[in-house]
């Protein structure tokens, strides 16, 4: 059993965080909220998301697992104005999700969860550096890097206590640095890793500009980015594997 009402805005933000990496996902329906974990087909980018029951206007379930086509569900959510409510109800018999938006009814066929790629284990990484940065600074860095290159280096200078971004293209370079003053928080440690901009651009799309993003970094190690959605009632972690030179 699953029966919930959520604002279209919250639903869209949630779906966007996942759809930047995958087309289909499994949604765990737990008593205290929903959980989604997914990795892209190349096993390079991962998202781990939870949205608590408090983020919903009303939320009732006795547990369950459903598989959804994200772009289909996003299209439906797109039919609602941002302040409208979306009513979701699972029909256990037909394995369909009934969606109602102000008189509009949509019946979404679900996907067999077993046919969706297995959910990844979250790698347990102890990363030496941590910065807390505004979403809009990530956006600036990614946009500037994209003008010159296909990849971007993210690093922390332990001695000078600053976070920096480097992008090198055929001929042009971009460098961007933020010190303690510019950041919300900084735990220094030596870190530098190179990442594909294709992935980072997609993840950036899902990071709210006003979000406080906690970014964990290492030396040629994956980056983890944590931020809140739905006024703190939802938590998202992106993890991205680096491009490395040492192998």
């Amino acid at each position: 059993m699953f029966n919930a009402i959520v604002s279209a805005d919250t639903l869209r933000t949630t779906l966007d965080s996942v759809s930047v990496l995958v087309d289909e996902c499994k949604i765990h329906l737990n008593e205290d909220g929903i959980e989604i974990r997914a990795v892209d087909p190349a096993n390079v980018g991962m998202v781990d998301l939870s949205l608590s029951a408090e983020a919903f206007e009303s939320y009732e379930t006795d547990g369950g697992l459903i598989g959804v086509n994200l772009s289909r569900l996003e299209d439906i959510a797109g039919m609602a104005g941002s302040d409208q409510l979306v009513h979701l109800e699972l029909d256990e018999e037909t394995r369909k999700l009934h969606i109602q938006i102000d008189g509009l009814e949509y019946t979404l066929a679900l996907i067999d969860p077993d046919s969706i790629r297995q959910e990844p284990d979250l790698p347990d990484l102890d990363l030496p550096a941590n910065v807390v940065i505004e979403g809009r600074d990530i956006d600036r860095a990614v946009k500037a890097a994209d003008m010159v290159s296909d990849h971007i280096a993210l690093g922390v200078d332990d001695a000078d206590e600053l976070f920096y971004v480097d992008a090198e293209g055929d001929t042009d370079d971009v460098h961007f640095e933020l010190d303690r003053e510019d950041l919300i928080d900084l735990t220094p440690g030596n870190a530098r890793s190179l990442f594909s901009l294709d992935y980072l651009k997609d993840m950036n799309k899902a990071i709210p500009k006003d979000a406080e993003v906690s970014m964990e970094l290492g030396e040629e190690f994956p980056v983890k980015m944590h931020f809140d959605i739905a006024e703190g009632q939802g938590k998202v972690t992106f993890m991205l594997a680096p491009r490395i030179q040492s192998d």
Binding site: A42, D198, A241
Partner: protein, 417 residues
């Protein structure tokens, strides 16, 4: 063999000698062109009816969808028409640039303007042309020409050059063409998507050269979609389609287990192929010598271009490297298919000054296909291999790193941590 020993074996002096020879040979081409013109004038004297044997067809891309479409047939009646058609055999026979140009300038392109929409057109000039394209051996034809041929040599980076051309009034088959069973099957089934039909033919042992002719003649695909496909586009479409098919089959296979480097040199192009363990990634980097054809800015020294795809493949056309990317990728994927392994792959192409005329993208495909027949060097790591190769490349490591995604860093997966 260890990579350092492998590199020692690679002699640059030889290349310098060949460069000198190539310069001399380019004069031979000028002489040859005069011979062909004389021969053409003799063959076509008086009446304009021209009996010949056509091994392949040509479809131009100018003015699409109203294109110039033609039958290619040797001017010299005594010649074996098969030898004039582009194929992998050219590499095996060791054809040089001059040999290719000689063959191609000896082929008359009897052409007409036609609309590409050819579903069910099996009569008239276009019909004859399509019959020639689907036949598995050269076909005797009789062509009525309108006026004298234009004498020209037309080359681009993808297709094989073409020689003289003349406007055709009509064409007739002088024999019943032999069409292989699988081709008939794809032809008759007008519900079959072109991609599927191409892959079917490839699996039935047809090389991309044959499939290219068939696709170009608009003989594959769903009925309503059947169109003449300009030769240049068709070559890339076939390489791309077949490569995607092979790549799909390797997606879940294990990876190669060591870093290997192969090299090959053909018609003034030197290739280095580096395969490394990991999930599929492919990159093709070209380094064009200042004097070589197609270097747009000779004053800037070696001109670099590159194109890359990740595990998921790519969607956009590769602007910088055009058809060469697809031809090289096919050569690599065929090798990986034979081993049933996936890999990270970097192909470096150095275009030396010896490459004084473009002969078409077939030479890239064959250069890569045959690179794997040679000795290979083994290295500890991908970047170790690149550092060892670097002194033998015409550009610095730093320039290469800036141009190449793989040299900048190979993509890891989360499972590696």
């Amino acid at each position: 063999m260890r990579l350092d020993e492998f590199i020692e074996d690679f002699e640059r002096d030889e290349a310098a000698e060949r460069r000198r020879l190539a310069k001399e040979k380019s004069y031979a081409i000028t002489d040859h062109l005069e011979d062909v013109q004389r021969q053409l004038d003799e063959t076509l004297q008086g009446d304009a009816l021209f009996g010949s044997t056509a091994p392949e067809i040509f479809v131009g891309r100018t003015n699409y969808p109203r294109v110039s479409t033609g039958l290619l047939s040797p001017v010299d009646h005594e010649a074996d028409a098969t030898e004039f058609a582009t194929s992998g055999a050219w590499y095996q026979q060791g054809l040089g640039i001059d040999d290719v140009l000689q063959r191609r300038t000896g082929l008359l392109n009897s052409r007409r303007s036609a609309n590409v929409d050819v579903n069910d057109v099996w009569d008239g000039f276009v019909g004859v042309q399509r019959e020639v394209a689907i036949a598995d051996r050269p076909v005797d034809v009789e062509v009525g020409l309108d006026g004298k041929p234009d004498f020209d040599l037309d080359a681009d980076s993808v297709r094989t050059p073409t020689g003289p051309s003349a406007t055709a009034e009509r064409a007739d088959l002088a024999e019943n063409p032999h069409v292989p069973r699988p081709v008939e099957k794809t032809l008759e089934d007008d519900e079959w998507q072109a991609e599927g039909a191409m892959n079917y033919l490839y699996q039935r042992g047809f090389d991309v050269y044959d499939i290219n002719n068939i696709l170009s003649a608009g003989a594959l695909g769903r009925g309503e979609n059947r169109r003449l496909v300009p030769t240049r586009w068709s070559i890339t479409a076939v390489d791309d389609t077949v490569s995607k098919f092979i790549r799909g089959g390797l997606r879940n296979q294990a990876s190669v287990d060591e870093v290997s480097v192969w090299t090959n040199e053909y018609v003034g192009n030197r290739y280095w192929v580096v395969l490394a363990p990991g999930q599929w990634e492919f990159e093709f980097v070209e380094m064009k010598a200042p004097e070589s054809v197609w270097n747009p800015r000779p004053e800037g020294g070696y001109y670099m271009s590159s194109a890359y795809e990740s595990y998921e493949g790519r969607t956009g056309y590769v602007e910088e490297t055009a058809g060469a990317y697809y031809a090289a990728r096919l050569g690599v994927l065929e090798h990986l298919r034979d081993r049933n392994r996936q890999a990270k792959c970097l192909v470096l192409r150095e275009i030396t000054n010896d490459y004084w005329a473009p002969v078409g993208v077939w030479q890239v495909r064959e250069g890569i296909r045959h690179a794997f027949e040679g000795e290979r060097g083994v290295a500890e790591t991908f970047h170790g291999a690149i550092r060892q190769l670097s002194p033998h490349l015409p550009v610095t490591f730093d320039r290469l790193r800036r141009k190449s995604n793989l040299v900048a860093g190979v993509q890891t997966s989360l499972g590696d941590f």
